[in-house]
Structures are given as C-alpha cells and as structure tokens.
C-alpha cells in the first residue's frame, strides 16, 4: 500500500513545480491538478478498505513520536481525506478545461495540501502549520477574482483569520508548556485525567482560531462576503473543502484532548447560535450566492451542534449525525455552487432565466440540503432529529424544526423562480455538467439506498471513538 505521506509530499512537490509545468505546456498544470487529488483519493480509499482497524503511525524524519512529527492515519482521518480529495477531483475536473493560469493551480494544490495535512497530521504544531497553509492559500483564492466583492471579502477574511490563527498558535504553545509535548495523542494521554485551568484557557484560544475557519458564530462574519464575491469554484472549495478540513480538526481535538463538558456545552451554544442566525439571515438575502453562503454557515453550525450533543447524551449517534450532515453538505453545496456557473452573473433570488439542466441541478442540491426524502440529506436530518430527541430538550427540538421550515422557505422561493423563469440555453461546460450529474446522482442514489455511505461512516466513527487505542498506539509510537 502506498505510504500516505506521499499525499503531502507530492502535493508540495507539484505545487513548486507548477511554474515549470506551465512553461512546458499550457494544459499541463490543469492535468497535474486533476491527477493529484485523484491519486490522493486512490491512496485514501485503498487504505480505508484494506487497513486494519488500528491507527497507523507514519514517522517523518526518522524520529519516533512523541519526539518527532508524525502522521496519524485511522479510518476517521481517511474518511475525511476521501471527502476532501473527492471534492478536489470535482473542482479539478469541472474547471479542467478553463483555467490556464498556473498560479491558480499552485494555490489550489497548496489549499489541498493544507487540508490533507490537517487531516493526516498527528502533531499539534504541524496542524497549526497546515492550518496556516490552508488559510493563506484560501485568502489568496478568495481574492483571486479581481472584482470589488471578492477583494473585500478576502481582506476581511485575512484580518479575522490572522488574528484567529495567532491565538491558535498561542493556545498550542500553552498546551506545550503544560504537557511538554506537541504530539496530539501524547497530549491527550497526559491530559486524560487531570486538566488544569490553564489547559482550558489554551483550549479557548485554539477554539477561537478554529471557529474562524469553520465559519462559526460570531467569527464567521467574513464568510458571507467571501461566498458572495469569490469565483464559484472557490465558493465550492470554501464550503466543501476548507471548512470540512477545519471541522475535522475541531472534532479531533475536542474529542481527543478537550473531552470535557464545558467544551461540549460551548460548542452546543455556538453551533446553535450559528445555525439560527445564519438561517434567518439567509431568509433576508437578495443575492443568491450570499444566501447559499449563509446556508453553508448554518449547516456548519448544525453539524457542530450535533457533534456537541455527544457531551449531553454520550451516544455515538451524535457523531454519526454530525458527520453524515457534513458529507451531505459538502456534496450538495459543491453541486449548488458549481452550478452557479450555469446561471447569470450577479444572480439574485428573483432569477429570471435559466436552462432546465441547471434548474434541476439546483433543485437536487437544494432538496438535499433541506433534507427532502429520497436525498442523502434526508437521512442526515432524521439522524439529527433523532439525537435531538434523545436529549429530551423539546424546546431545542422544535426550534430546530422551525428553522428547517425557514430553510425550506427560502430554498423553495428560489426553486419556484427557477422553474418558472424563461429558459435560456447557455453553453454548458461538458466536464462541469458531467461532475454535476455525478454528484446529483450520488445524492439521490444515496437517498434511496444509503447503505454505502452509512457503512463507511460507521467504520470511520468506530475508529474515532476508539480513543484508547488511538492514544496508546500513536503516543507509543509503534
């Protein structure tokens, strides 16, 4: 089996080689961008299916953990790696023919590198570095479009993101001071029993950094602007790739290191606030991309909410619901944002003319985000309602249902306009159309028969929940 470190190494290598490739042939960068996530996907799937249920440690530089930096590969990381790289393939394939400028490809590969690195790493400072790689490349990507909205969003994102990242670094360092190590598993081991007050402070600092990337309230103020302004494929990247890698980190760190009721309660409140505020804001929007952006933020809030309920009910179903929601959202939002290419510039919710294909794609994506029956999102919704009911907080349960109604309203408002507008036959990028169709078929097929997603998800979650094994193996450095 291929060593997963190749994922990181090759991404880095090709990112640096890009200018050279660009000189050799103008189409070469695009192909490299397609091949790399595909390769990563192959490696990840291969490991997912063939690996034993024991996390694997990959040493770098010959040093054993907890002294050296290592990668920690278990099914949960592999699952997210598959998700992130699948989205990477989607983006690369859809825009393969169009993007000639190799600078975009460099940024894309670096972004992917950051995301994959976060998912694979087992070292806390390493996670900071990859987080920064992810963040900086996303600042650049957000601002890559030379229009006013994009630049505005990018600079706001940059400022907030940098502050957050600095605090994350501070938090990492405080943890180091307390535990003497930077290895995630080792820290978890040392903090398992007694957590001193300063650890909580460190946790808070780190959470501030992570909340910026995962678009949680009140640090997600940059997100609507970026979603509105950036190119559509960048919006796809933000909703389906960047935030998903960041939320992986959030889940991992909270579950392993900060496994404490206080943190779960905090995540619960923040997730709930994010969800409520974002969905209501989406209701008030006139610009279609901004509305979709708020919807993305809301779904992230809902996922964090579901995750945080584990602290209350201690049932693994909470993680299942959260991760299923994340998968559904990544795919559905990718579909929605990429489809925006088929619609006019500056699309508002009163959109007047579209072609039937893009209306259908929008409808399928929207139905899946809403959780309509026979889409993948339906199962996510059912799971979330199930765990909400387990908490016996009826007020919360009905509040969430109410927000679901709001969500249905603003999505159907657009769908009504889409299917009632004049039809326009716009030239469709065939590869984009192909990717859209694949994703929509996946959503509907999994809606009918979600066994495939469920079984993979269960495997991933078993790995996550097996905290003891993770810690012992990785901290021990076998």
């Amino acid at each position: 089996m291929v060593n997963p470190i190749l994922i990181i190494a090759l991404l880095l290598l090709f990112a640096f080689l890009m200018p050279l490739l660009g000189l050799l042939h103008r189409r070469l960068p695009a192909f490299a961008t397609l091949i790399l996530p595909a390769f990563n996907l192959y490696v990840a799937v291969n490991h997912f299916l063939k690996m034993d249920f024991i996390p694997v440690v990959i040493k770098t530089g010959g040093f054993r953990p907890p002294f050296g930096i290592n990668l920690a590969v278990d099914h949960f990381s592999l699952f997210f790696l598959i998700l992130v790289n699948a989205i990477g393939v989607f983006i690369a394939l859809s825009y393969l023919l169009e993007e000639q400028d190799y600078r975009f490809h460099i940024l894309f590969l670096l972004n992917l590198l950051g995301a994959s690195g976060i998912i694979l790493t087992g070292d806390l400072f390493n996670s900071f570095v990859f987080l920064e790689i992810l963040a900086i490349s996303s600042y650049a990507l957000a601002g890559s479009r030379k229009e006013k909205p994009a630049l505005e969003g990018a600079i706001k994102y940059l400022i907030i993101g940098s502050i957050g990242a600095s605090f994350y670094l501070l938090g990492v360092f405080i943890l180091y001071k307390v535990t003497g190590t930077l290895n995630i598993a080792d820290i978890a081991l040392k903090l398992q029993n007694a957590k001193s007050g300063i650890v909580y402070l460190a946790g808070m600092f780190m959470l501030v950094g992570l909340f910026v990337e995962t678009e949680l309230f009140p640090l997600n103020t940059w997100a609507p602007d970026v979603y509105q302004g950036a190119y559509n494929r960048i919006a796809v990247q933000f909703s389906s790739l960047i935030s998903k890698a960041a939320i992986y980190l959030l889940f991992r760190i909270t579950f392993l290191i900060f496994d404490d009721p206080l943190f779960y309660k905090l995540l619960l409140v923040v997730g709930l606030l994010t969800f409520v505020v974002a969905e209501f804001n989406a209701l008030a929007q006139k610009d279609l991309k901004r509305m979709l952006g708020y919807s993305s933020i809301g779904q992230m809030g809902l996922a964090v909410l579901a995750f945080a309920l584990y602290g209350m009910i201690s049932h693994p179903e909470a993680f299942f619901a959260a991760t299923l929601l994340i998968v559904n959202h990544a795919i559905a939002k990718a579909l929605l944002f990429a489809n925006m290419d088929n619609m006019s510039e500056n699309a508002t919710i009163d959109i007047r003319s579209v072609n039937p294909f893009s209306s259908l794609m929008f409808a399928i994506g929207a139905l899946s985000v809403m959780g309509f029956p026979f889409t993948l999102g339906f199962w996510a919704k059912i799971e979330i309602l199930g765990i909400l009911l387990r908490t016996n907080l009826l007020f919360l349960f009905f509040l969430i249902i109410l927000i679901f109604m709001v969500e249905a309203f603003y999505y159907f408002r657009v769908i009504t306009n889409l299917f009632r507008g004049e039809t326009v036959c716009r030239r469709l990028n065939p590869l984009l159309a192909f990717s859209l169709v694949v994703f929509s078929i996946f959503l509907v097929y999994q809606g009918f028969y979600p066994i495939f997603t469920f079984s993979w998800l269960n495997r991933a979650l078993n790995a996550l929940l097996n905290k003891a094994i993770y810690i012992s193996i990785i901290a021990g450095g076998l």
């Binding site: 600079i155 706001k156 400022i159 907030i160 502050i163 957050g164 605090f167 007050g197 300063i198 909580y200 402070l201 946790g203 808070m204 959470l207 501030v208 909340f211 910026v212 009140p218 640090l219 103020t221 940059w222 609507p224 602007d225 206080l262 905090l266 409520v276 505020v277 209501f280 804001n281 989406a282 209701l283 008030a284 139905l367 309509f372 029956p373 026979f374 339906f378 059912i382 309602l385 199930g386 009911l389 349960f397 009905f398 249902i401 679901f404 109604m405 709001v406 249905a408 309203f409 159907f412 408002r413 009504t416 306009n417 299917f419 009632r420 009918f448 028969y449 979600p450 066994i451 469920f454």
Partner: protein, 602 residues
C-alpha cells in the same frame, strides 16, 4: 408481483409518456391510453394483500402493505387518476407535465400503501413535490405565488408531522401505526395534532386552506379533477389511519377532541360554502365547494362514532364522484369557452347538453339529494350528530348544506341557463374525452346512490374492529337507532314528483315552445349588450350581508407570521455590518467571554 409495482409502473409510464409527448401528438395520446389501460389491468389483476419491505437499515425499514383501508382508498385514487386522464388527451401540455402527473399518482399510491409512519412521510413528501411541479406548469393566475404557497403549506405541515413522528417514536419505541401506551392525554393530543397537521392541510381544512383556491384555479383543468377527486383522499386516508389505528382509544375516551375536530370541520364546511357562492370564477367556486364538502368528511371522522365515521368515509367517496364530475364538466366548458369566469358564461344548455346533465347530477349529489351518492353520507352524518345530541353542530352543518344549494344553483345557472353570449354561439359540446369521463362518473353517482350498501360493506369491514358496532345497512337502505331510509323509496318519491309535474305540463296544453332568449328576456326584445344575465352580481345581496366575513382571512394571519419571521431576519442581518473593525471586535469580545468562562477554573 409486488403491490408497489403499481407505483413503479406508473412512474415508468410517466417517463414513457414524457418521451411520447416529446415526439408526437399521436404518441402522446397513445401513451396516455396505455397508461390508463395498464394501470387498470394491473390494479385488477395484481393487487392483493401483501406486506413488503424495501430497504432495511437498523431499526427502520421502508415497508409497504396493502390493507383493506389501503385498498379502499387506492381504488378511489386509481379511478380518479384514470378518469382524469381522459380529458387530458385533449389538452396540449409540456412533456414534463405528463411525467409529473404520473409521478404524482405513483407516489400517492405508495403513500397509501405505506406501512409505517416514516414511509408514509417520505412518499407523502414526494407526492407534494410532484404536485408542486405540476402547479409550476399551471395555466392561469399568479403561478409562482400559488406554487410556492402550496409547497410551503405542505412542508410546514410535514415538518410538524416529522416532529410528531419522533415524539411518538420516543414514547412507543416504534414508528408503526400502533398506539402509544402510558402517555398522558395531553401528550397524546399533542402528538395527534402534530401528526395530523399535514393531512389537515391536504384536505384544506380551515385555517390551513389558503393554498387550495389558488392551486385549483391555476392548475391545468384535467389535473384539477385528479387533484380534487383523487389526491385529497390521501389526506383523508392519513386521518383515517391516525384515528383508527393510532389514536382510536384517545378519540373514544376523550370528550373534547372529537368535538373540536368536528367543529373545525363544520366551520370549514360553512365558510367554504359561503366563499363558494361568493366566487365569480367557476374553478374557484368548485375549489371552495370541494373544501366545504371535505369539511363534512372531517365532521364525520372527527366525531368518532361508528355512524359518523362511516358517513365521513362514505362521503369522501361521494366527494370523489361528484367533485370529479363537476370538475370534468367545468373543465370541458372552460376548454370550449376559453374562460372560467362565471360572469362571461351563460345559456350553454343547448350547446353542451351532456355537460349540463353531468353538472346537474353533480350538484344534485353535492346538495345531498337522494337517490344520488351525496345523500347516504349526509343523511347518516346528520343521524350521527343528532344521536350524539350535539344540536349546535347539527345547525352548523345544516347551514352549510344550505350554502351547498346556493353555490350549486349559482354554478348551474351561470354556466348553462340564462343568456347565451354572442361569442359562444358556435360552441360545441366538450370533446370526447370530457364527455366519456362525465358519463362514466355518472354511473356511480346513481348506482352507489341507490345501493350505498356496497360501499358501506367495505367500510364496515375496517371500522368494525375499532367500533364494534352492528351492521346498520343493507344493499339499499340505512338504519340507525333513530331513523331509517330505504333509498329506492326516496328515489321513487322524487321521481314521482318530477313525473307529476311533467304530466301536468303535458296535459295542461297551454305550453308553448319558447326560444332560448325568451327564457330570460320574458319575451321582451333587448339589445345584445344589455346585461340581462343573472350571473352578474349573483347573490349580490349576500355580499352586503356576509361582506365583513370575507375580510376575516386566515391568509392574512399566516402572512403576518411570515412577516414576523422576516422581521427577525432583518434584525439578525444587522450583525454583519460590513465593517471589518466590528468583526475584529466580535472576535475580541468572544475571546473575552471565553476567558471569563474558564476563569473559574484558573
């Protein structure tokens, strides 16, 4: 063969029709005919009681079953569907329309065959989605607003249902149709309300009815036949299942719930009738009539006595038949005239005689006159309410029945009697599809009107386990503790009255064959433009009497609710001020809050 193959075949047929319509008109007609024939053949040959599980995932499996109740309602839907397809042959629609049509039928049948609450929900939602798609292809009115209203009302109801489903699961441990034990009455009522809500929306109970008049008005006319006669029965089915299987004990024991629901039904019946005779549009009038008649059904179901429940179900069958024929004939008229405005119609009796007879029998049935199918249900309902002793409710339903006479007469007079407009001089009878459908509808109007026992037998089959009552009917008569009616006798009595007046007319010898115009001009010679058609300002005096009532609108209330939501969203919007310094401030404040949170631990 599995029962759900019916639905799957329907969906397949839908795709076939889609491609057929894409290619050629003849193919379109041919595929519709195949659809009708195929559905009927399959239904006759292959439907049998059978349970089937489709997907299994842990605790949940999508299961279908054809119980007696399911089969009963499924037949109504199949009949409504096939009959509504006949007029469709004459309408020119986009290919997608046919696809959605078949999909709506397919998912509606799956909904009725569902064996647990979640399967029901999933297929019910898809039915709503298919109907939404058809509404988007509507032919008149504000289509966007109508379709959006429909889907939002449906979805809100469905989300409440979902909430109720989960709560029921929590208390009973399953999502089947069984009852819940060891739960307080209040909780049971709450769960019932949550679960029943989407079905109340579907049968347009007030105050959730606002989507219906616009939807019926906008939709293509043959679809409205299926919509009213067939698809609303999905709502009735849902209520029947909930009341008979899940909450039977609750309804039997609780004193207030049946009364409340019966009153809601009664008010719907009355107000629906009032709005009906206030309408100046044929389709809107029929829409309100449909709402009103379903109100009677709700009274019957809600009161939950053996007679009232059977009456309610019987009346829903009657509703299918007479609303079916009413919508078919009106659709035919609209097809020929190009308008649905009652004030622009008139005097078509000689031009469209078969439609006239169809409409006439339809409104006779809607008014509940023997020996049509509208009579047994209403009679039994009155008996049941009186037996329960609820005289106020009887009065309410009685007044509602009066409105039925009013709008029925308005309908028939405005279209077929009175003055024939100049532009309609060359109007022909409705096309073959409409006529054939009308004639086919007329058969059950009379047959099941005279022999209601056939249907009551089936109803008895699935209501006896719950109510444990004695047989109260024979082939052609009904008998309760306080009353008895032999329908052929009533029918003969009615016929005798007609015969008597007819004989008088024949032997009096003073009759004179007048021209149609003399009918309403009383022999005077009037200008063509003279407004002599009574359809203008029909019931104008009523408008003065009831005008204030029309201002009271549930729609305004729901719009107000929506405005509150939008206002809240305007509020939360302001958080995102656009100024990056504010954003940094949020971050800082958040950090400070977090630090305070852990302050105690330090």
């Amino acid at each position: 063969m599995y029962n759900i193959n019916l639905a799957l075949l329907a969906i397949l047929a839908g795709f076939l029709t889609f491609f057929g319509a894409l290619s050629h008109r003849v193919l379109r007609v041919a595929s519709i005919v195949i659809g009708i024939v195929g559905t009927l053949v399959f239904a006759f040959l292959y439907l049998k009681p059978d349970t089937m599980e489709f997907i299994r995932m842990g605790v949940f499996a999508m299961s279908f079953n054809l119980t007696d109740i399911s089969r009963f309602f499924l037949w109504i839907i199949i009949s409504a569907f096939t009959l509504s397809l006949l007029p469709l042959i004459h309408e020119e629609r986009s290919p997608f329309f046919y696809l959605y049509y078949f999909l709506a039928f397919g998912f509606a049948s799956l909904t009725i065959m569902a064996n647990d609450l979640l399967t029901l929900y999933m297929n019910f939602e898809l039915t709503s989605l298919a109907i939404f798609a058809i509404l988007l292809l509507g032919v008149r009115g504000d289509i966007k607003k109508t379709a959006l209203k429909y889907i939002i009302y449906s979805l809100v109801g469905a989300y409440f249902y979902l909430g109720g489903l989960f709560i029921k699961f929590k208390y009973s441990g399953n999502i089947g149709f069984g009852g819940i034990q060891n739960v307080s009455t209040l909780t049971q009522i709450a769960i019932y309300t949550l679960l029943a809500l989407p079905f109340f929306v579907k049968i347009a109970t007030m105050p959730f009815h606002n989507w219906a008049p616009d939807a019926y008005y906008s939709a293509s006319d043959s679809f409205t036949i299926f919509f009213s006669a067939g698809l609303s029965k999905v709502g009735v089915y849902g209520l029947v299942i909930l009341m008979l299987k899940t909450f039977a004990e609750l309804f039997k024991s609780n004193l207030y719930l049946p009364e409340i629901i019966a009153w809601v039904g009664g008010i719907t019946a009355l107000l629906g009738g009032i709005y009906a005779f206030m309408s100046d549009d044929a389709k809107k009038l029929l829409a309100y009539s449909s709402i009103s008649q379903l109100g009677y059904v709700l009274v019957g179901l809600g009161l939950f006595t053996p007679y009232s429940f059977s009456a309610g179900i019987f009346h829903s069958v009657a509703h299918f038949v007479f609303e079916g024929v009413l919508f078919t004939t009106v659709a035919g008229v609209i097809h020929r005239l190009g308008t649905s405005d009652l004030r622009r119609m008139g005097g078509l009796i000689k031009k469209m005689p078969i439609s006239f007879i169809g409409l006439l029998l339809g409104i006779i049935a809607a008014s509940g006159i023997p020996p049509t199918i509208g009579f047994p249900g209403k009679w039994l309902l009155y008996e049941a309410i009186i037996m329960k002793g609820d005289l106020f409710l009887v009065s309410l339903v009685f007044f509602a029945s009066i409105t039925a006479f009013l709008y029925s007469y308005k309908l028939v007079h405005s279209i077929f009697l009175g003055k024939l407009h100049k532009e309609h001089r060359d109007v022909k009878e409705a096309p073959a599809g409409y006529v054939v459908a009308t004639i086919i509808f007329l058969i059950p109007i009379i047959v099941f009107g005279v022999f209601p026992g056939v249907i009551f037998e089936k109803i008895y089959g699935f209501t006896k386990p719950v109510f444990n009552h004695d047989v109260f009917f024979t082939f052609n008569s009904l008998k309760t503790q306080i009353g008895f009616v032999k329908i052929p006798v009533a029918g003969i009595a009615l016929a005798a009255m007609f015969a008597f007046s007819f004989i008088l007319y024949l032997i009096a010898g003073r009759s004179y064959r007048a021209k149609q115009e003399d009918n309403y001009t009383a022999g005077e010679w009037v200008d063509e433009d003279f407004a002599s058609h009574y359809a203008q300002e029909f019931y104008g005096f009523m408008r003065k009497a009831f005008g204030k009532l029309l201002d009271l609108s549930a729609e305004k209330f729901w719009n107000g609710v929506l405005t509150i939501f939008k206002a809240f969203s305007e509020l939360t919007r302001r958080i995102y001020t656009g100024d990056v310094r504010d954003y940094a401030l949020y971050l800082l404040f958040f950090l400070i809050v977090l630090v305070f949170l852990v302050g105690g631990k330090l």
